[in-house]
């Protein structure tokens, strides 16, 4: 594992933990942006930079769409949480890290013998954390972020298995489509908040 791979892997673990623990959209958007940078580097281990950069651009576009929509909304701040919630999610995240470390070697031996361990580990970390996130929140924007993380994790591993221009194009469409669905959900929430406020004012 070279230094850059280690750095990318560490960045993935940290950003995935941040997205899992915190609910603030600003922190999560920043974390997702960094996460896509790490994903980009890991994809370059399997694909030429010219193709791998599609993942970075698409990822950043998706993050920007969600982040900018959150920025434009009123009253979008999530309610304050007790420290115990953060602690619980942090603990759950640590458990996921442990589980993924244990299963990644076995998975490499049995299913993906030709794939670098750092790629499998990073992909599994993203998938595991995203699944945990999906199971512990009901915020539309966090759900979309988790799904984007989940797909990024899958793409890291799948990039090492298959390369096809159509697949890259379709995956990019799916990622952007998910981001647009996220924007749609955020706008819906805001529209309702506005209507409720107007009714209260009257």
């Amino acid at each position: 594992m070279d230094a850059l791979s280690t750095l990318a892997f560490s960045l993935i673990v940290i950003t995935a933990m941040v997205i899992l623990i915190f609910r603030d959209w600003r922190i999560n958007t920043a974390a997702l942006t960094l996460q896509y940078l790490a994903v980009f580097y890991l994809v370059t281990l399997s694909w030429p930079i010219g193709l791998a950069i599609v993942k970075l651009i698409v990822g950043w576009m998706a993050t920007a769409a969600i982040g900018l929509t959150c920025l434009r909304q009123i009253d979008f701040d999530t309610p304050a949480e007790p420290t115990s919630s953060l602690f619980f999610r942090g603990l759950a995240g640590l458990m996921i890290i442990l589980v993924m470390f244990v299963i990644s070697s076995t998975l490499q031996e049995t299913v993906f013998p030709n794939v670098d361990l750092v790629i499998i580990r990073s992909g599994l970390m993203l998938v595991g954390m995203a699944l945990m996130q999906l199971g512990t929140n009901a915020f539309p924007y966090l759900t979309i972020m988790s799904l984007l993380s989940f797909l990024a994790g899958f793409e890291v591993i799948h990039a090492a298995l298959e390369r096809s221009t159509l697949l890259i194009g379709l995956m990019a469409s799916v990622n952007l489509g998910l981001a647009l669905v996220g924007v749609y959900f955020i706008m819906k929430t805001n529209e309702r908040t506005l209507v409720q406020k107007e009714e209260e004012d009257k």
């Binding site: 049995t110 009901a138 799948h158 096809s164 489509g177 959900f185």
Partner: protein, 470 residues
Amino acid sequence: MTLNTPILWVFLPLVISLITGIFYRRRILSLVITCTTGFGLGALAAFFPEDMVISIGSLTLTFVENLGILGRQINISYQILPFIAFIYFSTGLWAVGSTQPSVPESFRPTSLVVTALLTAALGVEPFLYAALFIQAAILFSIPMLSPLQSKTHPGILRYLNLQTLAMPFILLAGWLLSGVETLPPDSPLIVQTMIILGLGFGLWLAVFPFHSWVPMVSEKAHPLPVSFIIFIFPTAIALFSLNFLDRYTFLRTSQGLYQSLRAIGTLMIVLGGLWAAYQEDIKRAFGFSALAETGFLLLAIGLSDQVGLSWLLMLFPTHAISFWLWGFTLSLIETRTDSLSIRGLKGFARRYPVISSGLLIAQLSVAGLPLFATFPIKIALLSAGLTTSTGLGTWIFIGSLGLFFFTMRLLNDLVTPDEQQTSSHWTLTEKPSVYLPILLTILAVTIMGLFPHVILTNITDTLTAFSQLQ
């Protein structure tokens, strides 16, 4: 002049849906465009000449089955056209149902997009890329299930989550399948591949325990889009799944796979039926019944050694017509009453006899009552189930009773006079625009039940697209 069939059945509806999307607030215009496109493309597929040449006066159009995109192909062959005809007709039918003002305006354009993407999914080569087209169709279905004005309910998020999780499993299974063909049958990798594939399809088809979104969405979303979604996705995915059986010998010859499909199908029928039986909310009951019907689809594939695949294809049109009637009547009921609980509908049939009859007949048709559309197929599946194993047949029968039981409960409350209503007399208050579509559909449901071989066998020609499964 040479044209490609994918341009006709994939790209043309996508462009038309874009136009419909631009004019989505003009209800009549978007309705006419969507209906014309749905029925027009359906009719074209149904009557398309086998030599793929259409002559209009001096103009001769020669159609090619393939269209190359980025090194891959979309292939709409002549053999798959009966199914394409069917899904486009169904889209037209649902567009007709969307005349009601309560139906989300986004329904018509997005329903066309969903159908076009599912058509592309059935034709893309390599066929595993279909997973991405299906995922795109799922994303497009969100606005029709959760319109801008409504609250984002947890069911829709769960729907999005579970359906999105399916795509990686299918793509991964595709990669694994390319390597396991040459392995010996007892290789553990084959079992792992089948598990991954099963998880992908389980998530897509909302197989227990991934089913929770179905009743949640059916309870909260508008019934017409819900009926469209729970009809078109399982139908297209069930047909797509036949690709795997067709192409991989080890899957086709695996007795364990068919046994698992029969067991899971029966489990779905029993759970869906029993859950539906004691529901209070009529929209939730619809969701649970849809789960039981997915069970019948799986059971039919599991019984492929006993003509199960023909029954699978014959189930599609019966589901289409029954689900449409169910969704249509539910949406009419929703706008005419405050409560959608069984008790809240007391005496409803006395005020709206045709809508109530439509709802009851849709439910009884799906449940498999004699004379109605699904009966001939359900009885064939039940007999095949009993032939395979008495236990299996018994459980299928028990599961099928669930919806009957619910319908009887509903019937009792619909006809019982409500003490709070001033008049308990039977009156026909529905307008012709409401009762005519219902009566016509009831007639179609009955004709399908009486003459199944005349009406339903055309679609079984689709099986010719799967050379190893005929």
